[in-house]
């Protein structure tokens, strides 16, 4: 009996300690990033770092403006492509598709959500880059090497498809059948039911799916690094090369340790990534809480 009590105490304390360590880890990451980037923050002003467009570490210029613009371009274009396409596919899979097709396609899409990003990057490099270089960019009358913002956005959109689709299908399936039947029985067409009932009832689910897609797109490093061209300048068109925050860290890692100020600047980039993800998550928690209260779920 006593041994069991001791074992229980030990076990419960172990679980508590591990959990405490996790919370500690969260703050540890945050503070390490802040401490390490204080070198660059002491040397340059925050405004200068965030908005000055010239990134030229060898000359001591650490403006991230152009990289931030590149990140926004890539993420926004990718989401603009990915959201409607994956929402419509999810609606088809959840509401229209016959059972057989559903049974084949859903595992397929789930598996693809797990395909590593390097593989997407490699495929984009093999197929999309030449395609953009030889056909798509000349079609718009622009000379391009194929390594550009546009290619990176398409790659990201394709990477995000499976994630948004499988989460959306899940939340569409969770909509109570009675709600749909009520809408259909008063004469709404199937699409009207989807538009006015299913979308509304699963809005929190759709929202968090999109947010997860955003997180993936925003933080994706390797696949983007392979196809974006890696030029930290504000791109003139989407067929010009650019750079994103995460990809900037990856492409500079060889030189990371050489100059303290340079290292600190890259860690500052990591800090930006961390803070943006944190803010978006807090925002989403607030929104979800609000919708839940509104609909008294």
């Amino acid at each position: 009996m006593n041994i069991r009590k001791i074992r229980n105490d030990l076990g419960v304390h172990f679980i508590r300690i591990i959990c405490g360590l996790l919370c500690l880890l969260f703050f540890l990451i945050f503070f390490t990033l802040i401490v390490k980037s204080s070198t660059i923050l002491g040397d340059h002003s925050l405004i200068d770092l965030l908005f000055s467009p010239t990134w030229n570490p060898t000359k001591g210029e650490f403006g991230l403006g152009s990289v931030i613009v590149g990140t926004i371009y890539v993420t926004v274009i990718a989401l603009i492509i990915a959201i409607p396409i994956s929402l419509l596919s999810a609606v088809y899979l959840s509401e229209y598709a016959p059972r057989k097709i559903r049974k084949i396609l859903r595992p397929f899409i789930d598996v693809l959500a797990g395909v590593p990003s390097v593989v997407y990057g490699l495929c984009a490099f093999l197929l999309l880059v030449p395609l953009v270089k030889d056909y798509i960019a000349p079609f718009f009358g622009i000379q391009s090497t194929g390594l550009c913002i546009f290619t990176a956005s398409i790659t990201l959109a394709i990477m995000v498809f499976p994630i948004i689709i499988s989460l959306c299908v899940e939340s569409f399936d969770a909509v109570p059948l009675a709600l749909k039947e009520a809408s259909l029985s008063v004469g709404a067409t199937k699409w009207e039911t989807i538009k006015k009932v299913v979308f509304k009832a699963s809005a929190p689910g759709i929202f968090s799916a999109i947010l997860l897609g955003f997180g993936r797109a925003f933080g994706e490093t390797i696949a983007i690094n392979m196809v974006i061209g890696g030029v930290p300048r504000i791109p003139e068109t989407i067929f010009h090369p650019g750079q994103t925050l995460a990809s900037l860290i990856a492409s500079s890692y060889g030189e990371l340790m050489s100059i303290p100020l340079y290292e600190s600047a890259l860690i500052f980039v990591a800090l930006i990534l961390f803070v943006v993800v944190l803010l978006f998550n807090l925002f989403s928690v607030l929104v979800l809480r609000r919708t839940k209260r509104k609909w008294k779920l």
Binding site: N8, L10, L33, S89, Y92, G215, L266
Partner: protein
């Protein structure tokens, strides 16, 4: 009336078109990797480490990367499982009040969203502060951090579905919290736990950004925790743009292997989940 019909038809067509776009792009990706990778895969490729002049098209295979990937991802997944299990047990109502578990869940969500490159940078900084450079150990730490939020979320979800009556009957027989957690809850939630762990393994084995700095690169199979090591994703990343087609073949072979591994993990997870569900009380 007619307008509504037209709208319905229009959006239905849009759905079909977008589904076709999604499916064709995904099928193209898989077939591209299989087509390119299978032709460049040979027995030599998977049983030998690279020899000198490898990047110039020398002979040798990618055994160092295959083993490196396994040495990195398996321990990381084990650690992440242990930590994730503890955290998700703690998140239950009999361990912590709801405000605490809600804030821990928020932390986990934020950690999930953090780009893996940030974990890489963080682990590298810690390692340098401790006096090590890029090593197998640092890579394992980075991957563990990456996998913890994923695995914990899945375990948490599956533990949440354990019926309260089961817990209560275990408590009423006089078993302690710890015994109930390990022997009753863990067993009941096993399919979900396993699915989560395998998902974490799949993410860990395929992630390049977190191990890019931390694990480094090496042509040899690592013999201790402090050796730097190659892995399949970093192999692909360092070889894909080489001008020499013989060298690029190796990137394709690595991508093919990686895809196969991820597929196997996913299929195994499905099969195991189905098989284990048989022993779960409903």
């Amino acid at each position: 009336m007619n307008l509504r019909r037209i709208e319905e038809r229009f959006f239905f067509t849009c759905m079909i078109v977008s589904l076709l776009v999604v499916l064709s792009s995904l099928v193209i990706i898989v077939s591209l990797i299989v087509f390119n990778g299978a032709s460049s895969l040979s027995l030599e490729m998977i049983t030998q480490t690279p020899t000198g002049g490898y990047f110039l098209g020398g002979s040798g295979g990618i055994l160092n990367a295959i083993l490196g990937s396994l040495f990195l991802a398996l321990p990381a997944t084990g650690l992440a499982y242990l930590i994730g299990m503890c955290i998700s047990l703690f998140l239950q109502s009999d361990f912590s009040p709801s405000w605490m578990s809600n804030s821990i869940r928020l932390f986990l969500d934020v950690l999930w969203g953090i780009p893996s490159i940030v974990y890489g940078i963080f682990c590298l900084m810690i390692m340098i502060a401790l006096g090590f450079s890029s090593s197998l150990l640092a890579g394992i730490c980075a991957l563990t951090l990456l996998e913890i939020p994923i695995i914990t979320r899945y375990i948490d979800e599956s533990i949440k579905t354990v019926p309260i009556g089961l817990k209560e009957s275990s408590y009423s027989l006089g078993s302690t919290k710890f015994e109930t957690s390990i022997k009753v809850i863990q067993r009941q939630a096993l399919p979900g736990i396993l699915a989560g762990v395998l998902l974490g393994l799949g993410r860990g084995i395929g992630d390049a950004a977190s191990i890019l700095f931390t694990a480094g690169f090496s042509n040899n199979i690592p013999t201790s925790l402090f050796d730097s090591t190659a892995a399949l994703p970093t192999m692909i990343y360092s070889l894909y743009a080489q001008p020499n087609p013989v060298v690029r073949e190796k990137a394709y072979a690595a991508a093919f292997l990686l895809l196969i591994i991820v597929l196997i993990i996913s299929v195994v997870s499905r099969l195991l989940t189905r098989r284990l569900t048989k022993h779960v009380l409903r």
